[in-house]
């Protein structure tokens, strides 16, 4: 068997790959020029790849470089394809699969952090409970009136999700998340 994606319903059906999917985080170093983000996300939608999370910002102002962090979920074969396809985009300098790189470095997973702003409407006695929970999650109050709080919370996506789940019955009103920022542990740089 030479093929890993023997599609039953279409010669093109790469999705019929029965291997289990994995979550990988890709760091994409790009020239910060107009349209570069559209090229990257257009590739994902055009070729039917998943984006679980996307974060982008200029990181090296002098060299006009931006770092795009993409969390994607797919089979290992498709993740390799995504990496090669991204590298074909002309303003893309470097594509690093942080999870693969962590494995090479004999590490577990890359460092991943996300920030969320969470607005909770709470009055009276409920406010104490809300504040207690926020403290337990190390969430910081950045704005408050007598009937609301806005919390800032940073951490792994799983921690944010838990915090949001806890706040939901206590008066959760609004959520804004940044998406994942990630890099590998250790002294090696990319």
């Amino acid at each position: 068997m030479n093929t890993k994606n023997s599609g039953l319903d279409s010669a093109y059906l790469i999705e019929s790959d029965n291997n289990p999917t994995e979550i990988h985080t890709l760091s994409v170093l790009v020239d910060n020029e107009p349209g570069v983000l559209a090229r990257v996300i257009g590739l994902f939608s055009g070729r039917g790849y998943n984006i679980e999370s996307l974060t982008v910002s200029e990181t090296e102002a002098e060299q006009h470089l931006s770092r795009i962090t993409i969390v994607t979920c797919s089979t290992p074969h498709i993740i390799t394809q995504i990496r090669h396809q991204l590298k074909r985009i002309v303003p893309v300098h470097e594509v690093i699969d942080l999870h693969m790189y962590a494995r090479e470095l004999k590490q577990d997973v890359p460092i991943e952090r996300e920030l969320a702003l969470v607005k909770v409407i709470a009055e009276g006695a409920l406010r104490i409970e809300v504040l207690h929970m926020a403290e337990a999650f190390h969430a910081r109050v950045v704005d408050a009136t007598i009937n609301h709080f806005v919390f800032e919370i940073t951490g792994k996506s799983s921690k944010l999700k838990k915090f949001i789940a806890v706040m939901r019955p206590l008066g959760l009103a609004e959520i804004c998340r940044t998406g994942v920022a990630a890099m590998n542990r250790g002294a090696n740089e990319i």
Partner: protein
């Protein structure tokens, strides 16, 4: 370019208008011909073209034709093809050739006009979001907002179009940028961008491993593709040398025809859906496969899980994303075909004399029994012209002229690939990846512009020729003596064949009613029309076509319901081919199973 050196020097760092910069940059890139159509947003550049004579502009009758003509020009010369269109509809008409060039890796630069920067986003007259529309169908594209970036961007555009895996690029220039004055920078003062550096040399370890496999192979086969031709004359020469050194059987994709001469003993014919029996069987049974500049397209592999089950696969490609995309390969080698073949041959010469090569006579005997199956045989007919016979006669009567062939898309395209022998590269231009009906005639015009003294033939179908028939006017205007050879069967033949195979022979909208009288149509444009419907008259009329010094529309009336065989029905493997003498009506009805039905 030596004689231009003075003007180049004068041009560098000089201030000129954006339109002048465009024409100067084209000149400095060695462009002699461009194909285009004017309009409001591109007028300053057309005005500049009017005032010079270094770059010759060919006016087409539809922007799509400009693109295909530029593609034909690029593929026959190996140079970058250039098209020039206006904003809005000019650009949307250019989308088809851009995608065509993307899928077939043709170097193409499209310069498009855009509404002035102050109007962008206001839904201005003939405004379209060009860079967004063309982003997925180009290798890269640019919107030039500052005239001082213009020359750098055009030079970069040419570099990106022709280097690495070649492809189309687009430079969108707003009208006010064409009028604005800015500094011109010549090509040699441009530094290539850091993020784009195609890898040319293959890894030594992979090359050594590949050569070891090939030396020890009992049943090797070489499967070559368009990448060999794109890599250039060196790659073609080296491929031929490699075949000779190892006495390898070689087959090729549709795009790769001509890289290895069809007249040589080691040639198996084209492979894939309409490939020969021997080529597909050799691919299926081989123990080592060397894929060179080919991408394991679905027309080639057939059913993926039954593709070459026992083979170790070596894959040479300049595009890392082609590796392991459809088929898992054992030895990937990323780089330029010419560089890698050179290293492989050097390695071959060192190690092969030292190891005992297995006997390959058994393999060749096997191949010869497959050849004896004569998969391209067809039943000829004394009363009506068989399409295969027409192509065979066209080949026999034109081959001494070393003709350049283009095709449209459909049965006639496959028959030409099967029955016309290609001995040299860059003589065969066809739309492989995108399958664009309407490609062949404008592409032939592009080829003829590049090769004014050679015989250029476009083999067409009665349906696809009508997709860009207006270009007869272009052919007349520029004295382009292209010969259009229509295999007229009154059907969209390939569509009808698939309807017969897949849809109970219900011929939904595949019959070409109200066909024009092609002879009178040719005459209306001022071209020569020839009609032939009798086999015994065919040779004379083809000769008459060849000697004609203007464009000819040859209406070759062939039998209506002939199917294109051999064929690997969709969803079947290489060794499950349908051959013409086995294709009874029942066989045809059962050829494609439920799963295959969903395939294209």
């Amino acid at each position: 370019m030596k004689h231009d050196h003075k003007t180049e020097e004068a041009a560098d760092r000089r201030k000129m208008s954006g339109a002048e910069i465009v024409v100067q940059a084209l000149t400095d890139q060695g462009v002699k011909h461009i194909f285009g159509y004017p309009g409001g947003s591109i007028l300053p550049i057309f005005d500049e073209i009017y005032q010079q004579d270094k770059v010759r502009h060919i006016l087409v009758r539809h922007e799509q034709a400009a693109g295909h003509a530029a593609e034909g020009y690029a593929r026959t010369t190996g140079k970058v093809g250039v098209m020039l269109v206006t904003s809005g509809p000019g650009v949307t008409n250019a989308v088809t050739p851009l995608q065509d060039a993307l899928l077939d890796s043709v170097p193409l630069v499209c310069v498009s006009g855009q509404v002035s920067t102050t109007l962008i986003g206001s839904d201005a007259f003939q405004e379209a979001d060009t860079v967004s529309i063309t982003r997925p169908c180009t290798k890269h594209n640019w919107l030039v907002k500052d005239v001082n970036d213009l020359s750098r961007i055009i030079h970069e555009a040419f570099y990106i179009a022709r280097s690495g895996r070649p492809g189309p690029v687009l430079v969108d220039i707003p009208k006010n940028v064409q009028f604005a004055y800015g500094i011109y920078t010549e090509p040699k003062s441009i530094t290539p961008r850091m993020s784009y550096q195609p890898q040319l040399d293959g890894e030594t370890q992979a090359i050594n491993c590949a050569v070891n496999l090939l030396c020890a192979a009992r049943k090797p086969v070489i499967y070559s593709g368009g990448g060999v031709i794109n890599s250039g004359a060196d790659a073609v020469h080296l491929l031929r040398e490699l075949v000779n050194i190892g006495n390898f059987p070689i087959t090729s994709t549709l795009m790769g025809l001509g890289a290895y001469p069809a007249s040589k003993e080691n040639w198996l014919g084209m492979l894939g859906m309409h490939g020969t029996y021997e080529a597909n069987m050799a691919m299926h049974d081989c123990d080592v496969m060397l894929a060179v500049g080919a991408r394991f397209d679905d027309r080639i592999t057939g059913r993926l899980d039954a593709f070459s089950p026992d083979a170790k696969i070596i894959h040479i490609d300049i595009d890392p994303s082609s590796i392991n995309k459809n088929v898992h390969v054992d030895v990937p080698i990323v780089g330029d075909v010419a560089h890698i073949l050179k290293d492989m041959i050097a390695r071959f010469r060192i190690i092969c004399p030292n190891i005992k090569q297995p006997d390959r006579n058994v393999w060749w005997r096997q191949i010869n029994t497959w050849r004896a199956r004569r998969s391209l045989a067809y039943r000829n007919n004394a009363d009506v012209i068989m399409p295969q016979y027409a192509i065979e006669r066209l080949y026999a009567l034109t081959k001494d002229h070393k003709p350049y062939l283009t095709t449209e898309v459909g049965q006639h395209q496959m028959w030409t690939a099967q029955y016309f022998g290609f001995d040299e590269p860059n003589h065969w231009m066809t739309s492989g990846g995108l399958g664009t009906m309407g490609y062949g005639f404008p592409a032939a015009i592009g080829v003829q512009i590049a090769r004014p003294d050679d015989l250029v033939v476009c083999v067409a179908g009665d349906a696809s020729i009508q997709m860009n028939i207006q270009e007869l006017s272009t052919a007349i205007q520029y004295d382009v003596p292209v010969k259009i050879f229509i295999l007229n069967n009154h059907y969209m033949g390939m569509v009808r064949q698939w309807q017969q195979l897949l849809h109970g022979n219900r011929l939904s909208h595949s019959y070409m009613e109200a066909l024009p009288d092609f002879v009178r149509l040719a005459e209306a444009y001022g071209a020569v029309g020839i009609r032939c419907s009798k086999p015994e008259e065919l040779d004379d009329k083809i000769r008459q076509m060849i000697v004609c010094d203007g464009p000819v529309l040859f209406d070759c009336c062939v039998v209506s319901l002939e199917n294109c065989f051999p064929m690997i029905p969709s969803g079947r493997a290489h060794n499950e081919m349908l051959l013409s003498d086995e294709a009874t009506n029942e066989m045809m009805a059962d050829a494609i199973n439920v799963q295959g039905r969903l395939l294209v």
